[in-house]
Every structure is written in C-alpha cells, then in structure tokens.
Symmetry: C2
Subunit: 228 residues, 2 copies
DNA sequence: CTATTAGTCAATTTATTACTTGATTATGCG
DNA sequence: CGCATAATCAAGTAATAAATTGACTAATAG
C-alpha cells in the first residue's frame, strides 16, 4: 500500500520524530512525572514516592522521557537526579494542559466533582484573590515540600509543608485571611490545607495557581529561604 | 502498589485526560493528518491520498483524533469533511513541532541529508528572502493544490500546483527570480518545483515557510482567488 | 569485606494499538 | 430500482507498550 519514494521516506522519518514526543507524553504516569519535574529536579526515588509508583516503573518511565530528550539526568553519589531538559519542555507541558482543559470537558467535570464532594466549590473571584495576594493583605501559605518552596515561591509566602501544618498552626496569624497554594490546579495539597485550616477556625481559601501559573501571569517569583 | 485514596483517583483521572491528547499525537500517521488538516479542511478520501494511507486506516486514525476532540467532522452528501476542532489545535501542533525541532537533532539531520542529496542545501538568508517576497521584487509561486491556495496564501503569490507546473511554465516571467513555497519546512513540493524550474533555466529558490509560518511571523495572508 | 541503599536491567505477562481485509451503511445517480 | 462511491465497521493478526518481579550494579557506611 504505502509507497517508498525518497520523498515519502523523508516525510515518514520526520513525522516519526515528531511522534517520539507524542509517545513520550502518551502515558498518564509520564505526564505526572513531567508535572512534578516542572516544579524542580528530583531523584528517582522521590518521584516514585510522589507519583505513588514502584521504583522500577518510575525509572523506566523516566528513561522513556529521556529517550525523547524531554528530561536529563545526572548522578551524584547514590542518587540520580532528573530534571526537565529545557524550559521549553515546561512551556510545552503548559500548552498541552491548556489544550486539554479547553477541548476536554471531562477535566472541568472531574475537578468540579472532586471539589464539590469536599464542599470547596465556592465561587472565587480569581482576579480579586490575586490582587489580595499581591498586596500582602493576606497570609500566603505555600504548602509544598520545602525544597519546592526554595526552588521558587510567591513573594512573601510562608512555607509550611502540608505534612507539618497540623503542628505549626501557631505560626499563622489568626486575624488575617489565609490563602494556600501548592503545585497548581490539579494538586490537592492546598485543598487539604484549606480544609484543615477551616476546621481549626481560620478563614482560608485556596489559590488554584502554582508557581508556574504565577510566573506565566508575569508576576515575580522569589527564590530561596525567606529573608527575615 | 498504587493507593486508591480519592485524591489519588482524582489526579489519576486528570492525567488520564491529559494523556488522551498525548495518545492522539503519539502516531506519526495522525501527526501527518493533523499537519494536512492545519492547511484546511479535507475529506477522508483526500487525506488518505495525501498521506498515502489506506482509506480504512485513515478513517480510523481520524476517529481517534476526533475522540481526543482535536478534529471535528461533518457530512455533506457522500463526503465527510474533517477539520481542526479549533485554531488552538494548530497552535499546539506548531508548539510540538518547535519542541521536536529544538530537542531532537535527528530532525535537522534528516532534513539536511534529504536536501543535500538533491543538491539544494545552499545557504539561504531567510530574512533577506522574506523581504524580497514581501517587496514584490520576485515572483512568488504557491505550488500547493488550488484549494489550499484559496484557503489562504502569501499575498501576490501565483497559484500553480506542482502537478501542473510542467505545462504552465509559460505563465512565469523569465526575467525575475522565482520563490516557490508549499506547506512548510517538511513539505517537498516546493523542492520539486525549484528543481524543475532550475532545470528549465529559471532562477528559483525555495521558501521553507508555509502559510502557517508566514502568519506566525505576523504577515498578512490573502484569501480566495487572485484579484485581477 | 559485608551490608545497605538507589537505581537499572531483563524477563514475563497482560493490555493496547496499528493495520489489513472484507462486509456493511448511506448517499446520489441514471 | 440497481449500481457506484465515500466512509465506517468488525474481526483478526501482528507489533508495541505497561507493569511486575527478581536479579544485578554502583556507591557508601560500618
């Protein structure tokens, strides 16, 4: 059926190359790994834990991503650290996410169903919320692991990882509204945080954006530990 | 191994949705179809011929693309016409292509090897060439099928489909340089055209850009048949 | 040297995907 | 009506991919 002229072979080769990227992102597991890596470099072990995957499986998926040149790895001692190969990869991932959100109604449905079951589907005026965050009128809480906070966070945000939150409530002023954020719209840590905070009497809301989205809005990102 | 907390199920569902898009673009054949469709709507039959695929296979691939909401179809009489679901899809495809080009050195190699074998790997000053095209100092030749020309072309370009070129050389002024273009950097029609023109004594060069790229540079695109 | 840990490799099973072939449906035409 | 054509469907085979398991390698600590 197929012809084998040089021109056909050329186009076939080209589209096969494009498909290498496509195949790399054709697996939900690998997309999760890419999403985690877009928060910063990680060891195989850490990624496996975060994605709730076996170590061997995670390692194999990472090798697929590496074969497609989407991630790089380097070994230091016992640990192999993977990172996105280029910031262009993060941007591509964002584009994929946007396309999926706009084309696949199922995503919005899933999100809505999940939030409703947790009683957190209140309407939030995103712009107004962002303005409050930027103005410093609210306590901004970054509930991701500390390493991710260090790699980049919303300016003036306080780092209290979700795992520690229960024991560190005293650090949060009670007279101000709390805005919690984590890795982005599909990360559940900030949802858990808001739930916990409300149960303890705080006025708390969730910011869907993560650092990526914050940066994409053109806002500045702070790096390292909090000064003073 | 995997846990089944509601939060985990939520993230899994979300990444599965993202992966729908990934799976859709994981096949070279489907990417070729998307590329063809980004030139304009097409019937299944036309797509099958252009992609050198069996009709049944093409139809099945198109259905996969439709299931991922990347394309839409509607039936008029005997014919089913497929089109990109949204301009966002075309933009996503461009992003994929750019990422592939920048991450996968094999693409540049393949391109170079193909052009060298045909003796067309001369260095072209792209900016200068674009300027000549824009100024009207050269004869611009659109060698794609007429329908694609009608759907959008570089202003002042003349439509002579590659298949007709041999018989319509008389329409091309001999005293001016000819710049031929087709669907973009991976389409071989303009290459064939330049080869033919040179063999017949024309001064001809290829413009790698297609209409998509032209538009992406911020230049205007003309529609319909040539006025006057 | 031995034990431990992070990561990879190799082999296997299972599930999914690609493509072909031939039948089937739907539309339009004489 | 009968026939041709565009497209899809359905069934089958071959090829790929995903996840698990257990073995293996490399670095490090005692």
């Amino acid at each position: 059926m197929r012809d084998t002229t040089p021109a056909r072979r050329f186009t076939d080769t080209i589209y096969e190359q494009f498909a290498r990227i496509g195949k790399a992102i054709a697996s939900p597991r690998r997309l999760e790994l890419l999403d985690l890596l877009s928060q910063g470099p990680r060891t195989v072990d850490a990624l496996a834990r975060l994605a709730a995957q076996s170590l061997a499986n995670t390692s194999q998926h990472l090798q697929v991503l590496r074969a497609a040149r989407l991630v790089d790895a380097d070994k230091e001692g016992l640990y192999v650290t993977y990172r996105l190969a280029d910031s262009e990869v993060a941007r591509f991932f964002q584009t994929l996410r946007q396309l999926a959100e706009s084309r696949l109604a199922e995503i919005e449905q899933t999100k809505r169903a999940f939030l409703e079951r947790r009683g957190l589907m209140e309407p939030v005026d995103r712009e107004a919320l962002l303005e409050r965050v930027r103005s410093g009128k609210v306590t901004v809480l970054d509930v991701r692991p500390v390493e991710e906070y260090r790699a980049g966070h919303i300016p003036r945000a306080v780092s209290i990882p979700l795992t520690d939150l229960k024991h560190r409530l005293a650090e949060i002023p009670r007279n101000r509204e709390v805005v919690a954020y984590c890795r982005g719209p599909y990360c559940v840590m900030a949802i858990d945080a808001v739930e916990l905070l409300r149960a303890r009497g705080f006025k708390a809301v969730r910011l869907e954006d993560g650092v990526q989205e914050w940066r994409a809005r053109g806002f500045e990102v702070a790096v390292g530990d909090r000064a003073a």
